[in-house]
């Protein structure tokens, strides 16, 4: 037994409701545990018990006992705990403490007073085993998200802890970065030396590799092996959901296993969604758009026309220019060539005027919430937009009416995202431009968003949504555009792009020809 929680009930300082209540768990040596659950359900708090950050760093009241590697984690000093339980945090930017990769790995060792010769050997080993040896003298600030998280894992492992805690290490990363991080964790698990606890929203890649699953919901804990967990987990990948609905036991964990199982049970009928209504007038168009940063041209000769009723999913790897394109449409990014038109007329010069027609929601828009109440945020969003809807209508249409009096900084992350969307789109512009709105969002938030976007298109609006998440995009997109270094790689109707033979099939499409989301499959 490496760690043992007994009857933990914990409340943050000043919070009336406990973040965790009566939580107990035994962690065996060498386990790889997935910690699932909705955002703000208590996953982060749970992980921080194991290295004593809760309650030692965060304060608050803790009842029960946490024993990690024979020590009481709630009392043992951080310096001692750091050598037993390493931690990787959600945000790549907030956890590097040194200038370069190598120095960052050395940091923890220096603090423990490890002899330089031993340090040298251990750092070499870490650089090799996490595949970051070529990055050794790079500055942390110049690394990609995936590289930074692998460096953070290496840094957490530097002290050779018996326990590794990862708090949503991939939620801020693109698909490729997330895959490299999960690959690194899996390889670490295979060595059998380290016990790993990782919290995550996207379970598809983790479910097949972990040895057990914990779900934390409203501060309560459930625990079991992955094959059992698929029965009671609330948010599961679409292929697991499909098997669950079909009553298959045991539920296969990988897409491949699901496919071979389905061949034996050909009982699904596909009810395709109604085809999107034929597009209306042109709402926004870019002609021959080119954008350069310094000497590098990031976008060249982009032609994109979006009609009323269309929802475009804008795909592409990191750095392919998705954000830049959206920013150019709303006027936040200067263009070197080309033009942007709204309803056939040249777009106005200022961001303020353009946003009245094409509302842009940047990544992590919650940064701009600063009023005392959610209601005031919406009032602020409408202040400069005469003739827009009333505050109460806006609050209702985004389902934040019950939060109207709350302080936007006190609500959960998912609610914060909704409040930010509400205030930026309160004036109901005909075109919505959204940059990764589902990044780090749990299933309920992304479902809600999909339904709002579909409604908007049905009312004659249009949207361009930059995203990495094709499973979420399949729920709202009518058209898919993928960017690459050369420009637009393809521009296809969503059914074709996400379909079985398309360039980016969804999990469901790869199992059941003709369907792209689970909603289209009838049992």
């Amino acid at each position: 037994m490496i760690a043992n929680l007994r009857d933990i009930t914990y409340s943050y300082p000043g919070s009336p409701r406990p973040a965790l209540s009566s939580v107990s768990l035994d962690v065996r040596e060498g386990e790889f545990i997935l910690v699932a659950g909705p955002s703000a359900g208590g996953k982060s708090t749970f992980l921080r018990l194991f290295n004593g950050l809760v309650p030692q760093f965060h304060g608050g009241r803790l009842a029960g006992s946490v024993i990690v590697d024979g020590l009481d984690a709630s009392r043992t000093p951080a310096r001692t705990m750091a050598a037993r339980a390493g931690m990787v945090f959600q945000e790549p930017e907030a956890q590097g403490v040194a200038l370069t990769v190598e120095e960052d790995l050395a940091f923890g060792l220096e603090q423990q007073g490890v002899a330089p010769a031993i340090m040298e050997v251990r750092i070499e080993h870490l650089l090799e085993s996490l595949g970051i040896a070529r990055l050794r003298s790079r500055r942390l600030a110049t690394l990609s998200g995936g590289e930074r998280q692998r460096t953070a894992i290496a840094a957490a492992l530097a002290l050779d802890p018996r326990l590794l805690l990862c708090d949503e290490p991939t939620s801020q990363l693109d698909l490729e970065g997330a895959a490299s991080v999960i690959g690194a964790l899996d390889a670490l698990h295979q060595t059998g030396r380290t016990t790993i606890l990782v919290s995550e929203h996207r379970l598809d890649r983790l479910l097949p590799v972990v040895s057990s699953v914990v779900e934390i919901r409203d501060g309560r804990l459930r625990h079991g092996p992955p094959s059992c967990a698929t029965r009671w987990l609330e948010a599961v990948p679409p292929h697991v959901e499909l098997c669950r609905a079909a009553g298959t036991t045991p539920v296969p964990l990988t897409l491949e296993a699901t496919r071979s199982r389905l061949l034996a049970l050909p009982q699904f009928t596909v009810r395709p969604m109604e085809p999107p209504p034929s597009p209306g007038d042109v709402l926004v168009a870019a002609q021959g758009l080119a954008i350069s940063f310094g000497d590098t041209e990031v976008l060249s000769d982009i032609d994109l026309t979006v009609h009323a009723g269309e929802v475009v999913a804008l795909l592409g790897a990191n750095g392919s220019g998705k954000t830049t394109l959206l920013r150019a449409l709303v006027g936040l990014q200067a263009t070197t060539r080309g033009s942007v038109t709204f309803r056939g007329r040249p777009a106005p010069p200022s961001v303020q005027q353009r946003a009245a027609h094409a509302g842009y929601v940047p990544q992590d828009p919650a940064i701009a919430l600063y009023r005392q109440s959610v209601r005031d945020e919406v009032v602020d969003g409408l202040r400069y937009r005469p003739g827009a809807a009333s505050v109460d209508d806006v609050l209702r249409s985004w389902s934040v009416a019950d939060l109207a009096a709350a302080n936007p900084r006190d609500v959960s992350v998912g609610q914060q995202l909704r409040v930010a969307l509400t205030s930026l789109l309160a004036h109901d512009p005909p075109v919505w431009l959204m940059d990764e709105p589902t990044r780090g969002a749990d299933l309920s938030v992304s479902r809600f968003l999909a339904s709002r976007i579909r409604e908007h298109a049905a009312r004659g609006g249009a949207a361009i949504v930059a995203t990495h998440d094709i499973e979420a995009a399949a729920h709202f997109a009518t058209r898919v555009v993928r960017l690459n270094a050369a420009g637009i790689e393809f521009d296809l109707p969503a059914r074709q792009a996400f379909g079985t033979d398309g360039p980016c099939p969804t999990a469901i499409a790869s199992l059941i020809p003709g369907a792209i989301t689970l909603d289209e499959v009838a049992l």
Binding site: F89, E93, Q95, E103, I123, S137, R139, A355, Y370, G381
Partner: protein, 357 residues
């Protein structure tokens, strides 16, 4: 160059800039510092902006000191012009606004402005050639609390700039204009965001074992309290009781010894090691030692011929100019010896150079 050498250089440049009122020497000092600023390569991860911005800022501060002198008015024999302004009653403590402006007053303001300019440029050189992370790594283990604050602060600066940009954008997207009146609306989210991020960085450092070890022994705590008291005693005796200067020297030595004892004890109770420690090369050690000695001499010990002062109110004389007094001013150029003799792309620079992505 080693961060420690740069600290010694900064001490010299600051003490020369602060004790010089002779405008000729100040001009030479400013030229010297500018030369160092231009020729020294910027360190990776330096926390300051470009050199042009710094010179513009320094020039602005110089002009500001002249403007203040004009608005305030001044006394002197050579009245240039009179600025109209209200008379304040004497009970307001001699507050002045407008009135006669003398040539002496303007020259004195110019001298103050130049000293400020020199200080700004020397701080620019320091912060652009020593990355804060390196400074933190080479600072004594005893100063770990200061190190924590510094690191958290450093991660805060660039991210705050980024937050500010994003908040301005989001406000524009809501239709608000980003004029001066929007500043309060910008400050709150940026500050809150910055504080939240600082907490996350502090948490990450704690999770990596960056925390206080067992408390230092009682003797060390007494020593660290005694050190500043002894220093104060030394300064008082030196400046106000010339007959007790021997006591001042003793007190000063005692203070330094007490501080050193604390550093040693605190470092012992917090055993840390260094990965690839940086050593100061012997020539640099020499230069740094001479810098410190010069800095102390300029501030404390009057040497015949070494007079950096000038009083414009004594009838606006032509300032003196002597080779002895020029020596400490010119000595501020010593980093150039090391900067220019280092072959391009050698040493630290290569270690930190970016590998192609």
């Amino acid at each position: 160059m080693h961060p420690g050498s740069w600290v010694a250089w900064l001490a010299l440049a600051m003490s020369v800039a602060l004790s010089t009122t002779n405008p000729l020497y100040l001009v030479v000092l400013l030229l010297t510092l500018s030369l160092v600023a231009i020729l020294t390569p910027r360190a990776e991860g330096a926390a300051v902006g470009g050199i042009r911005a710094v010179f513009l800022f320094a020039g602005g501060m110089f002009l500001l000191s002249l403007v203040v002198a004009v608005v305030n008015g001044s006394y002197g024999d050579h009245i240039l012009f009179t600025v109209p302004g209200p008379e304040f009653p004497s009970w307001m403590g001699g507050l002045r606004l407008g009135g006669p402006v003398s040539a002496e007053g303007l020259v004195a303001a110019g001298i103050r402005g130049m000293a400020i300019t020199c200080i700004i440029v020397s701080f620019y050189v320091f912060s652009s050639s020593v990355s804060p992370q390196r400074l933190l790594r080479t600072s004594p283990a005893a100063l770990f609390q200061a190190g924590l604050v510094l690191t958290v602060g450093l991660t805060l600066v660039p991210s705050t700039v980024e937050d500010l940009r994003r908040v301005r954008e989001v406000r524009a997207l809501r239709g608000a204009s980003n004029g001066f009146r929007s500043l309060p609306g910008l400050a709150v989210p940026v500050l809150l965001g910055g504080l939240e991020r600082a907490m996350r960085t502090a948490e990450a450092m704690e999770a990596r074992g960056y925390a206080a070890a067992s408390p230092a022994p009682r003797v060390a705590s007494i020593a660290v309290v005694a050190a500043p008291a002894l220093g104060l005693t030394a300064a008082t005796a030196w400046f106000f009781y010339p007959e007790f200067r021997w006591l001042a020297v003793l007190a000063a030595l005692g203070g330094v010894a007490a501080f050193a004892a604390w550093l040693r004890a605190a470092a012992r109770s917090r055993r840390t090691t260094r990965y690839h420690p940086e050593h100061i090369a012997l020539p640099q050690r020499g230069a740094a030692a001479i810098s410190c000695a010069l800095a102390v001499t300029i501030v404390l010990i009057p040497i015949p011929g070494l007079d950096l002062g000038y009083n414009p109110f004594a009838g606006l004389p032509w300032p003196s100019f002597g080779i002895v007094a020029l020596a400490p001013v010119a000595a501020c150029a010593w980093p150039l010896l090391f900067v220019l003799s280092a072959p391009a792309g050698s040493g630290r620079a290569t270690v930190l150079a970016e590998a192609p992505a």
